[in-house]
Symmetry: C2
Subunit: 278 residues, 2 copies
């Protein structure tokens, strides 16, 4: 039996990259959680002695500081640089993009609108890059736009994890009332990419194994997509749940994983399936 | 009885301006019809000896040429300048705006999309301003976008007379698939301005007179809007249709006019109503 991983699965590019960067910097500290996955943060602590500091005032001058995937506010980054901390930047490139756009558009005199959640660390970072603080706004609902003192030239970015259809509602409200709206689609399609890749693989596979938390909505969604395309689809949390009988008379076993499933759990599952097949 | 004109009525700003410019240049020629109204073009011919030339090759070097409200293609304008024709530019400023935007965005390396009708003189003019002809496209339906070899940076303008809701459909299709979409809302709201102004006046007036063609859809729309707000509303084509009895015991007579109704017809109506009231 052949085992094939979906062309996109599990952690997104930015999360994988951040973990890879962190692993290369033993004994460093992340300022805030590197990613939103406790198992993985524990693994980095145990395997690489990477600590977690929650408050910036607790960071000492000689700490090597890993910047989390979501990025941090510009002034905090400047503070760490001032303190002469060694900075290891694991900000997701898909988050650096809206940071840079906000900086450029604000400097060019645009009103900047950020579609996202004010309290989310990514958005706290992105909005901090506007040089003109009086003309940079975070909105979650289109109707919030009406109260804003926007110029006729507006630049718009989105939190990377927002739904495109919700972003369009904000775009549409702006376009009807402003002469120029410069729309930067900074939404990251990782979730949709995992879903599309799982669906494509499920069409060809005799059995699909989806690895992810039983309570993770995005893992359940992946499983449901696979069930539509492949007669036998299973959602498991780890390799101990595999059943050897499932693989009888199968030619192709497809594998996908939820966005919060670390690679090492996926690898354990692949190893176990190979063992069963021997 | 007081007579009050709606704050916006009849010919739009660009058309009024073009007629004003033409009247100041007796014995000139327009290249193509100055505006879309034959009565008015006849009046300019009879009163100001302003001729109409349909084909560019029929324009002689010593002709003073009035550029129509819709504008003309860039190469034709260059040809006339080369021929040393005296150029009198009556292009509507709301049309000059998308011409300039297309020139600038094309020069900056954006793919340019123009939402409009390929055969409309305004659009023939606007698209001609793209320096990179291979990356400038006119679309009328959102699905036409899918076949276009667009870059990731797209600039979008609209024909001035299009409906905003149709423009948004094109915007939305682009935003989901392109990293930067620079949306310039170049739609002119003249039609809606006339409607809003008529509605506002009709609320206060005891009688509303709407002047416009009985078969003009925009005049009929104005009349219907006035009927909703004012008990007595009449749609007339000219002053001969006025009835003196309508104005008995009225304090405020409101007046609006369709987009194809020249000012002189409106003035004749106002004069006649004043006469009746004496």
């Amino acid at each position: 039996m052949k085992i094939e991983l979906a062309s996109s699965y599990g952690f997104c590019y930015g999360v994988k990259r951040a973990i890879n960067i962190a692993e290369q910097h033993r004994n460093s500290f992340t300022y805030g959680p590197l990613i939103h996955n406790k198992d993985e943060i524990n693994r980095l602590k145990e395997g690489f002695n990477i600590g977690l500091i929650e408050k910036i005032e607790d960071i000492k001058n000689d700490n090597a500081v890993v910047i989390r995937t979501h990025g941090i506010p510009k002034n905090e980054l400047a503070l760490l640089k001032n303190q002469e901390n060694k900075i290891i930047d694991a900000t997701c490139p898909y988050v650096t993009t809206p940071q840079n756009i906000v900086a450029k558009m604000s400097a060019e005199g645009y009103s900047v609108v950020i579609f996202g959640d004010k309290k989310h660390p990514e958005i706290k970072g992105v909005v901090s890059y506007a040089s003109d603080k009086n003309h940079a706004f975070v909105v979650l609902e289109p109707q919030e736009l009406d109260a804003l003192p926007l110029k006729n030239k507006v630049a718009l970015v989105s939190q990377t994890t927002k739904k495109p259809e919700d972003f369009l509602k904000v775009v549409n409200r702006l376009i009807l009332t402003h002469k120029e709206v410069r729309v930067f689609n900074t939404i990251c399609n990782a979730t949709f990419e995992n879903q599309d890749a799982a669906s494509e693989l499920a069409k060809r596979a005799d059995i699909m194994i989806v690895i992810g938390g039983r309570h993770s909505s995005n893992s359940k969604m992946l499983h449901s997509i696979c069930e539509q395309e492949c007669k036998e689809s299973y959602l498991i949390e780890n390799e101990t749940e595999l059943n050897a009988n499932w693989f009888n008379d199968k030619k192709l076993c497809g594998i996908s994983a939820g966005a919060s499933t670390p690679d090492w759990i996926i690898q354990n599952v692949v190893n176990k399936i190979q063992e069963i097949n021997h």
